[in-house]
């Protein structure tokens, strides 16, 4: 810029005119983020654009501008092209030619660089959900101007508000405006900015200071960085207004040294402003003097606290002072000082420019304006989001943020950094402002918003924050220094499996002390992450303590590898994957069977929590663990041996129900040398595996192999023997009983017409098929429900001759509990899915079903689980013609034999969470009968836990045999990196499926299986390797 000095407002306005003309002299502008995107190659990209635009002879028409953050950082490096506002993400120098040709010459978007919304291309900022949902006011110029050029800022209105204020407003008027606009400090506490200024202004003395707090220390917050990097002049203008309002002539920007680009841009902006006369003596000829010094922090989180920040500026250790006196009375050098956060100051020009009413147009009664959130963590669109105060978390995370990635489920939103808390699902629809967040137990803080999903452990998160505050505690006051250490010690114990239940009370007790007696905000808020997680996720703490279990498979003290920890049965997954990779299938089977006898079954129908926690998912795709298990089961040779010699003699233990839970319990008892007998009411063993899951998913032969293996260990099976009473079994002499009678009755819909011919419970329908009968099937079949039983019934009906099968569900597909791959296959097979409908009545003619009347639903307010409740739409009733209705809306525990045992209000058997013992001594219970319907692997795991507890009850040690096969195989780092794709198992073509119940999915071949097993990172070996 040519050297200009603005001696008065007119000269500034004249210059603005010129700058605007200059800015408009290009017909197109290429705006490249040169701040956050630098780390992803923005520099090379900028160079490529400049060279190629020049080579194309477009330099006079097209400006290539280095700008600040565009906001949607996940697209880095991101480029916006004006005037159309096309947004391109992940742009490389190789893309530049095409952009020049298609966009800069022809004005068309390069679609492959744009985002997709469904099948549509969202080419412009307005079309992308990320921007469409925002209200970018403070960030309006961020990403639009070159932050290193003051003329760019001036062209877009920069310094007009300070000119206006100096020319026509008294300092007191500025204070009043800011006060009435309702601006609250964006740094955390939310104190009224106007009030703070008023106090500073009215404090006696002429020497006053203004400090811009840019020590953005909250891990997870980066809006201040973006503002300093992208619109430094807006912050300086805010400081000028603040200084004018309070009567300060000296200011500081206290910025973190960890932000090199921010330091560089602010330093440059200060230099330019000073050269232009916008800082210094007699600014714009008004007589107002103000200058700003840039200071770098030296790495201490506590310096975000205002009295510690002042200590640091004065050259002391950054330790806080007791308040009062507050800095507005006695601050820097003992003089009145106003300390304001970067985002707060960047808001001020908007208020002075547009007036109070315009500012208050956005936001809530108590929290006016917009707020910038730094959206990060387990969310698709990470970046900076500016929304009106009062926007819900659901809007920010799901709509703007694009939701949680990789089919995981949202668990919590962490707000306010180490001083804040974790808000669970039920707060997704909470309008976010300073007060509402505080009521929920977190704080707005500076606006860091970290999304967490089911792969995050809440105990670990609490521990993480406490470790941070413990580390950053300055040590001045005892409650913070010693108290946080004490809390961290407790959390360390819990995370390594050595916690006690009393620890939770102790945590709360110490937390209260720290909160009420610490000297500064750091200590007063340090316990918040622990307190909120205890409040909302106490069950996770209890699990860590009682069961040594971390459901997210994160706490390393509790686990070897996340997959085996996530497996309810604790199968040593990495070991058997290693053995498969080495080709030792028999040994792999041996490893699996030490913790799970149903290998063929689980290789086909397990919901594979192991796979869902596979760390390889962080790199590309998780290992296909279930498919590898099936490969081993289908291809191992020496399967006829047993792990232990068969048991015999008089059975000590009676087991009710030969489902996966009962048979597993019998099997594990046998491994520990205890003989048992299993009673089964039906003629076949297997429970739901035989009578619920259709053969196209689980062939009878595969199931029978697993059952035969179990029986070879001496387990006695008595089919067609119904047990009427568990206590009677005890009287017969069995020393212990395991009740695993399942949940085999479908829930009734309780609507008119349920007794008509053609209405059949889905479980009975599936059971008939499982028992080898040919169940009667209609031509037009309607299935009601969204679980696996609904899908199984629908797909079975298709195979039994139904011409049209429709599944009706009252919520939407995303909420369906059925496995997603099953829903997908059902749709492929021509089954129709109708979402958001609920049955009213079944219509009959002469006692026979002829149709069903449905009501359309819409999603209303969320329930406690955060799922939005379906509500009927009045007058939307309609009739679907059908001759068969299969309700599949849930199952009921079969608790008939549980005489004398305590039950729950859910009509399930009450039990001890650790031992599975019921209220009857020596009577244990597990599987569907205690949870009303769970997964196969949960049922097997219950059988295992019960077997251990029963062995201990009978005087044994409850020890299962250890692994005898070992594999230390791990592919080399290079091989691990090269093997990126995960295989899928082959499926039968759709047109070959519907004539019979042939198995749809077939297993891996040898080469594929080895390649897949080779992808395992062997997390279990990590401790050995390090």
């Amino acid at each position: 810029m040519s050297q200009v000095t603005f001696r008065d407002v007119e000269s500034l306005e004249r210059f603005r005119q010129e700058a605007q003309e200059e800015a408009e002299s290009h017909r197109a502008r290429v705006l490249i983020c040169m701040t956050g995107c630098r780390s992803m190659g923005a520099i090379e990209l900028g160079q490529a654009f400049r060279e190629k635009v020049a080579a194309a002879g477009l330099s006079d028409e097209v400006a290539v501008v280095d700008v600040g953050c565009h906001g949607q950082c996940v697209l880095a490096p991101a480029v916006v092209i004006e005037p159309q506002d096309y947004l391109y993400g992940g742009v490389t120098p190789e893309d530049v030619d095409e952009i020049i040709e298609t966009t800069l010459r022809q004005g068309e978007p390069v679609e492959r660089l744009c985002q997709k919304v469904g099948d549509e291309t969202a080419a412009t900022l307005d079309q992308t959900p990320f921007y469409a949902g925002q209200q970018r006011a403070v960030l309006a110029n961020c990403g639009r101007i070159d932050p290193t050029k003051i003329e760019d800022a001036i062209a877009r209105g920069g310094y007009s508000t300070i000119a206006k204020a100096l020319g026509s407003k008294q300092p007191g008027e500025v204070v009043d405006e800011v006060k009435q606009a309702g601006l609250r400090g964006r740094g955390g506490a939310g104190f009224s900015t106007g009030l703070k200024w008023e106090l500073a202004r009215k404090a006696p003395g002429d020497e006053k200071y203004l400090i811009c707090n840019a020590d953005e220390g909250d891990p997870g917050a980066f809006m201040d960085r973006a503002l300093l990097e992208g619109v430094p002049h807006q912050v300086i203008e805010g400081m000028l207004l603040a200084a004018y309002a309070i009567g300060a002539s000296q200011g500081f920007v206290y910025v973190r040294a960890e932000y090199p680009i921010a330091v560089e841009h602010v330093a440059e902006a200060l230099k330019q402003a000073r050269e232009c006369g916008l800082l210094g003596k007699n600014i714009l000829g008004s007589g107002f003097d103000f200058d700003i010094e840039l200071r770098m922090g030296a790495g201490a989180f506590v310096c975000g606290e205002e009295s510690a920040l002042i200590a640091s500026l004065e050259g002391h250790r950054g330790m806080p002072q007791p308040r009062p006196p507050f800095p507005v009375e006695k601050g820097y050098r003992g003089k009145p000082t106003s300390i304001n956060n970067v985002e707060t100051l960047a808001n001020v020009p908007l208020i002075v420019e547009n007036g109070i009413d315009s500012y208050r147009e956005f936001g809530t009664e108590g929290s006016a304006g917009t707020k910038i959130f730094a959206l990060a963590g387990r969310v698709n669109n990470t970046g900076l989001v500016e929304v009106p105060m009062g926007t819900t978390l659901r809007t920010i995370i799901n709509e703007i943020g694009g939701g949680v990635p990789k089919n995981r489920s949202f668990k919590a939103a962490q707000m306010g950094g180490p001083s804040g808390g974790c808000l669970p699902m039920k707060y997704l629809d909470l309008p976010i402002d300073f007060d509402s967040v505080q009521e929920a137990g977190a704080i707005m803080g500076s606006g860091g918003l970290i999304v967490m999903d089911d792969s995050n452990c809440m105990v670990n998160i609490a521990r993480y924050f406490l470790e941070f505050t413990q580390d950053e505690s300055c040590g001045k006051c005892t409650p913070c220094r010693v108290g946080t250490r004490h809390m961290l010690d407790i959390l360390d114990r819990i995370c390594s499996g050595e916690g006690k239940l009393e620890d939770l009370d102790e945590l709360e007790r110490v937390a209260d002390h720290i909160k009420s007696t610490s000297l500064c905000g750091l200590g007063q808020t340090a316990p918040n992450p622990v307190l909120t997680t205890l409040r909302y996720f106490r069950d996770e703490y209890e699990e860590h303590i009682q069961r040594k279990h971390c459901r997210a498979a994160v706490c390393e003290g509790l686990l070897e590898a996340p997959c085996s920890h996530a497996c309810p049965s604790n199968v040593n997954v990495p070991q058997y994957l290693g053995l498969i990779a080495e080709g030792h299938l028999d040994a792999a089977m041996d490893v699996i069977r030490r913790r799970n006898p149903f290998v063929s079954v689980c290789g086909r129908v397990c919901d594979h929590p192991c796979q869902s926690h596979c760390r390889r998912a962080d790199l590309d795709e998780p290992l296909a663990i279930r498919a590898l298990k099936r490969y081993a089961a289908d291809n191992a040779k020496g399967l006829s041996h047993t792990l232990t010699p068969p048991t015999s003699g008089d059975a000590e233990v009676a087991i009710v129900g030969a489902g996966p839970s009962g048979l597993s319990c019998a099997y594990f008892l046998a491994l520990m040398g205890r003989h048992s007998v299993v009673f089964e009411e039906h003629p076949v063993a297997g429970g739901m595996l035989a009578l619920g899951i259709p053969e196209y998913r689980l062939p009878k032969k595969a199931l029978q192999e697993d059952i035969d293996f179990i029986l070879r260990h001496g387990v006695e099976l008595r089919t067609e023997t119904r047990v009427e009473s568990v206590t009677a079994l005890q009287q017969e002499g069995y020393r212990a009983v395991y009740l695993a009678s399942g949940a085999q009755t479908g829930r009734a819909m309780r609507i008119e017409g349920e007794n008509l011919e053609g209405v059949a419970d889905s479980l009975e329908f599936l059971r008939a098929r499982g028992l080898g009968q040919e169940p009667k099937c209609g031509k037009q079949v309607v299935v009601i429900g969204g679980g696996n039983a609904a899908i199984d019934s629908a797909r079975s009906a298709s195979r039994l001759g139904a011409e049209k099968v429709q599944i009706l569900y009252r919520r939407t597909r995303t909420e369906m509990p059925a496995y997603d791959e099953e829903i997908e296959e059902a749709l492929l097979e021509g089954i129709e899915l109708h979402e958001l409908v609920a049955p009213n009545r079944i219509i009959g003619k002469d006692g026979v079903t002829s149709g069903i009347e449905m009501t359309r639903m819409k999603l209303g307010e969320p329930d406690d689980s955060g799922r939005r409740r379906p509500v009927p739409i009045e007058g939307s009733e309609y009739v679907i013609e059908c001759d068969m209705v299969l309700p599949a809306i849930g199952q009921q525990a079969s608790i008939e034999p549980a005489d004398g045992l305590e039950t729950t209000s859910w009509r399930t058997v009450a039990f001890d969470a650790v031992t599975l013992e019921t209220s009857g001594e020596g009577i244990f219970s597990g599987g569907d009968v205690i949870n009303g319907g769970g997964t196969v692997i949960e049922a097997i795991a219950d059988g295992q836990r019960a077997a251990i507890a029963i062995d201990q009850y009978l005087g044994g040690t409850g020890t299962l045999p250890p692994d005898v096969s070992m594999s230390l195989f791990r592919a080399s780092d290079e091989e691990l990196e090269a093997a990126t794709t995960s295989l899928e198992e082959p499926t039968l073509p759709v047109d070959e499926r519907l004539s019979d119940f042939r198995e749809v999915v077939s297993g891996f071949q040898h080469a594929g299986a080895c390649a897949e097993a080779n992808r395992c990172l062997r997390c279990d070996l990590e401790k050995i390797r390090s």
């Binding site: 780390s39 891990p219 917050a221 980066f222 960890e258 201490a300 002391h316 967490m452």
Partner: protein
């Protein structure tokens, strides 16, 4: 060069030049002064700090108090390259602790340590403010985003 040799080969004249440029130096300038000294030497050689205290008449207790309080300052030599691993929240929820493990293994030093050949120092930082890139590491002024553990060695190999 070993750590001991590095400590011996300190040129005090460089520090005196800094003092001269910043004069007059008051207590309020302690942090900027130490920042410039650290920029000059790569760390704060204790002998230099003592000499500067005499030169400026700043109490040594005060200056060392500051130098040991802030995590940015180091009284021991630092490696030629500074590797920083972010331990911010976003990095943590995206596996940042495993990244740190991997870096520690690759360099053979723990957080705060320096390699025997003095090429690398390793520090953790509260947050690098680039949460959208999580997990993040930095070598000198360069950011590396979305670092899967298997990339660590490649990144470090670019420096020597």
């Amino acid at each position: 060069m070993t750590v001991a040799q590095a400590a011996e080969s300190v040129d005090l004249a460089l520090a005196l030049k800094v003092v001269e440029e910043m004069s007059p130096i008051t207590e309020g300038d302690i942090i900027p002064l130490l920042q410039r000294l650290q920029d000059t030497y790569g760390y704060l050689p204790p002998d230099v700090v003592l000499a500067i205290c005499e030169e400026t008449e700043l109490p040594a207790s005060r200056v060392f108090g500051v130098a040991t309080f802030y995590s940015q300052f180091s009284l021991e030599p630092r490696g030629k390259h500074l590797v920083r691993c972010c331990r911010g929240t976003a990095c943590h929820v995206r596996g940042g602790h495993r990244l740190l493990d991997t870096i520690e293994r690759a360099l053979g030093v723990k957080d705060g340590g320096i390699t025997k050949d003095m090429v690398f120092s390793l520090d953790t930082v509260a947050c690098l403010g680039t949460c959208f890139l999580a997990p993040v590491m930095m070598v000198d002024g360069n950011y590396y985003g979305q670092v899967a553990p298997d990339r660590v060695k490649k990144i470090i190999d670019q420096y020597e």
